[in-house]
Structures are given as C-alpha cells and as structure tokens.
C-alpha cells in the first residue's frame, strides 16, 4: 500500500518537475520563474537537493540508533544503524554524481571545491570511515559499540563544518534557495514541487530503510538456523 502511494507521488513529482516550463515572469500557476545562473538546469534542484538532504537525514538516523544501541545493548538497534548508514552512503554518492554532472554543465568542470561539494565529500569520507571501522572489528558487540561511538563523534563535528566552510571558501553555488536570510527565489508552484520532492525522497528513504531492516533480520534468523 505505502509503496504504491509513494510510487505515484514520486512519478507525479518527476513529471511535473520536467513538464512545467520555465519563464521570465510566471503568470500561470504551472510556470517556474527563472533562477539567475540556473535557467533550465534549475530542474535538477528537485532531485539533487532532496538527495543530499536525505544523505544528511540518513546519517543522523544512523547516529540516533547508535546512541540507542549504547543504551540498550540490543544488536537490533545496531542493525538499524548500519542499514541507515548504508542507504545514506548510496544517496550521498547519488547527490555527488548528480551534482558533479550538473556542475559539468553549469561550471564547466566536474569538481571544484565548492563549499557544498566539499561538505558532501566530507560526508562521503565519514561514511567511508564508518564502514572501514566496522570491517576492522570482529566481535559483534564491540563493532556495534565502536561504530556507534564513532557516529556520535562524527555527528558532533558536523555543525563545525556548517560554520567553518563559508568562512574559508567562496561558493559557486547559486544564492541558496533554502538560505539563512529566508528570502525565497521560488514561486509557490516551484516551492510546492520542491518540497513535495523533498518529502517524497524522505519517505522513500524511510521505506527502503524498513525494507533493509527486515532483510537483515531475516538473514540473522537464517544464520541462527545455520548453527
């Protein structure tokens, strides 16, 4: 049931994202405004940003389950934590790839150390470190504990990036749309589509997470049957 709703929802988002025209002065409800420096390419906003957003969400979900594990010492929580981290890694790669493809057309090069590119790259590193650490620990309990601890340590450093990055490098990114001053470059339509895409991706993440957890649990049962 849920997955059907989700499917329809995302289909609509995708269609709408591409179908509606982008015009200088939007009159009709179905028209997007031109965002300086983006023009037609603005459409990727509907996918690229939600992805990176999901990456961040996934990381914090993983961290929270990590904390819960430290409290409960219940390996189930660790399983949830890993599953979330795995998805996060996937979305992270997607965001980077879409981003850099986009960058190729917008800025002419796949990679230039733009603050946001940098920040997502660091997230990539953190995910990598997280899994490297896990693979270096045999005992389940120990692995779960240390992974959780590392997730926490990484978690608390994230805010620093948000503060540090802008201070040290100029952004090529277009004037943030979800920006601090809260002035919005989108008209209602665009915002709605953007937000519904955001919601869609988040829901997608939730669904996939729940799938992975079920899978992991089944594998565990199978393993126990083994011996």
């Amino acid at each position: 049931m849920l997955k059907i709703v989700l499917g329809i929802w995302l289909t609509i988002v995708i269609v709408v994202a591409f179908a509606f025209p982008i015009v200088p002065q939007p009159q009709q409800w179905f028209e997007y405004p031109v965002i300086p420096g983006l023009e037609e390419k603005a459409r990727i906003l509907f996918f690229h940003v939600p992805m990176s957003w999901t990456t961040v969400v996934a990381f914090f979900v993983s961290m929270i389950y990590g904390i819960r594990y430290l409290k409960t010492k219940n390996l189930r929580d660790d399983m949830r934590s890993v599953s979330s981290a795995g998805l996060g890694l996937m979305f992270c790669v997607l965001a980077t790839v879409t981003g850099s493809v986009w960058a190729k057309f917008n800025w002419g090069s796949f990679w230039n150390w733009d603050p946001r590119e940098t920040s997502i790259f660091i997230l990539l590193l953190i995910y990598g470190a997280y899994f490297a650490l896990r693979s270096a620990l045999e005992d389940e309990a120990k692995r779960a504990t240390l992974a959780a601890v590392y997730a926490i340590i990484a978690g608390v450093t994230v805010p620093f990036f948000i503060f540090v990055m802008p201070r040290i490098m100029a952004s090529l990114h277009p004037e943030p749309i979800v920006n601090t001053e809260g002035k919005v470059h989108m008209n209602a339509t665009m915002l709605i589509v953007f937000l519904s895409s955001l919601a869609g991706f988040t829901a997608l993440f939730a669904w996939m997470l729940q799938l992975r957890i079920r899978l992991a649990r089944l594998e565990q049962h199978y393993y126990q049957k083994e011996n």
Partner: protein
C-alpha cells in the same frame, strides 16, 4: 570522580615508558624530518602562496601526530596491559592521563616542526605572533584531544595504523581548516580582532571534543 594524583601518575608513567622505548618520539621526529625535507625539496626554490605554506605545515603536523599519538592506546592493547590498567584506575583517569601526555608530546613536536619550518622555508615569516602562538596552543590541544579519542577506538580494531587517519581526518578537518586559516592570518599580519572567529571555533571544538570523550570513553575502554 577523577583524582588528580592518579592522572599525574599516569602521565608520568607514559613519559617514563616513552623515555624507555622512545617509540612515539622517534616516529614523530622521523616523520617531521622526512616530510619537511621532502616538502622542502619539492617546493624548492619557487615561492608558494602563504595559503599553501600554512596548509603544508599543518599537514606535516597532522601526519606526524598519526605516527605518534595514534599509538597511545594501541601499545597498551598490543602489550596486553589494557586489562592491567583497567584493574588499576577508573576509565576517565586513564583517558585524561593519556590526553595530557599527548598534549605535551604534540606540543614538543609542534615546536620542533614549526622551528624547522620557519628556519628552512623563507616564504614563511610570521608577522602577528600573538595570533600565531594562540593558534599553535589551541590547535595542539584540539588535535591532541581528537587523536586521543580516535586512538582509543583504533586500539580495538584490527587495522590500527591505516585506520587512524581514515577515522580522524573527517573529525579533525574543521580544526585543521581553522588553524590553517588562523596561521595564514598570522603570516599575513592580521590584527587580533580579525582572527577572533577562528579562536571561537577552536575553543568550542576543544570543549565539544572533551565533552564527547567524557561521555563515550567508557564504552570504548571496556570490552
């Protein structure tokens, strides 16, 4: 509750052990000298921007810390003395003992490294010493607290050496970036007020790191 006397004892033990085995100190100095000379050679004659110079300086320091500080807990684990320590002192005493030792060690290292660096690289002349010294001080403490925590984690893992930079780099990056900026400012001769922002970051970083260590170390230390 942490007894200062016990912490001091741990620190002293670390130093004595270090003097006996010279493990960390050697590794540290070796890395410093090697990297420095390689950098020197590769940078060679041409004059590089202060940006890159202050960047390189801290990379050297970061890597040296890798070879030295990362071993504080690993060595206990390898010699099988972790259990002994657990039977002798509460976790936090051990942690702060190691931390203090690391701070001192790293500080010595930094003084040496920076001394050589300034001596050997002409393009690197500090103008505002106030900023510079404060940066070194805070940077050292921050770096040490982060590495102590990471060192504790890797000591339980299989791949100790390689894992350290992998785990610590993302954690230390905000610190590194900040100290690099601050160092650049000091070389460019900025006035104190300009660097205040960096110092705030450094300070809060240290506080956060210590707070986290305080909370999680117990989980790492106990099997």
């Amino acid at each position: 509750m942490i007894s200062a006397a016990a912490v001091r004892t741990i620190v002293l033990k670390e130093f004595q052990s270090e003097l006996r085995t010279r493990y960390a100190l050697n590794a540290l100095l070796m890395f410093v000298v090697t990297t420095l000379s390689i950098v020197l050679f590769s940078v060679g004659s041409e004059n590089v921007s202060t940006d890159v110079l202050s960047g390189i300086l801290w990379i050297i320091i970061f890597f040296s810390s890798m070879s030295g500080l990362s071993r504080t807990f690993v060595s206990e684990e390898e010699r099988g003395t972790t259990m002994t320590l657990q039977l002798l002192a509460p976790p936090l005493v051990v942690f702060f003992g190691k931390l203090v030792f690391n701070i001192v060690l790293l500080f010595i290292l930094n003084v040496v490294a920076i001394g050589l660096y300034m001596l050997l690289i002409g393009g690197f002349a500090v103008k505002s010493y106030g900023i510079f010294c404060l940066t070194i001080g805070l940077g050292t403490i921050g770096l040490a607290s982060a590495s102590t925590l990471i060192a504790a984690i890797i000591s339980k893992a299989n791949t100790k050496g390689t894992l350290y930079p992998v785990l610590s780099f993302p954690i230390m990056l905000p610190l590194l970036l900040t100290v690099i900026t601050a160092t650049r400012r000091s070389v460019e001769g900025a006035v104190f007020s300009e660097a205040i922002g960096e110092f705030q970051v450094l300070f809060s970083y240290i506080v956060v790191m210590l707070a986290v260590s305080y909370i999680v170390f117990d989980y790492i230390w106990r099997d």
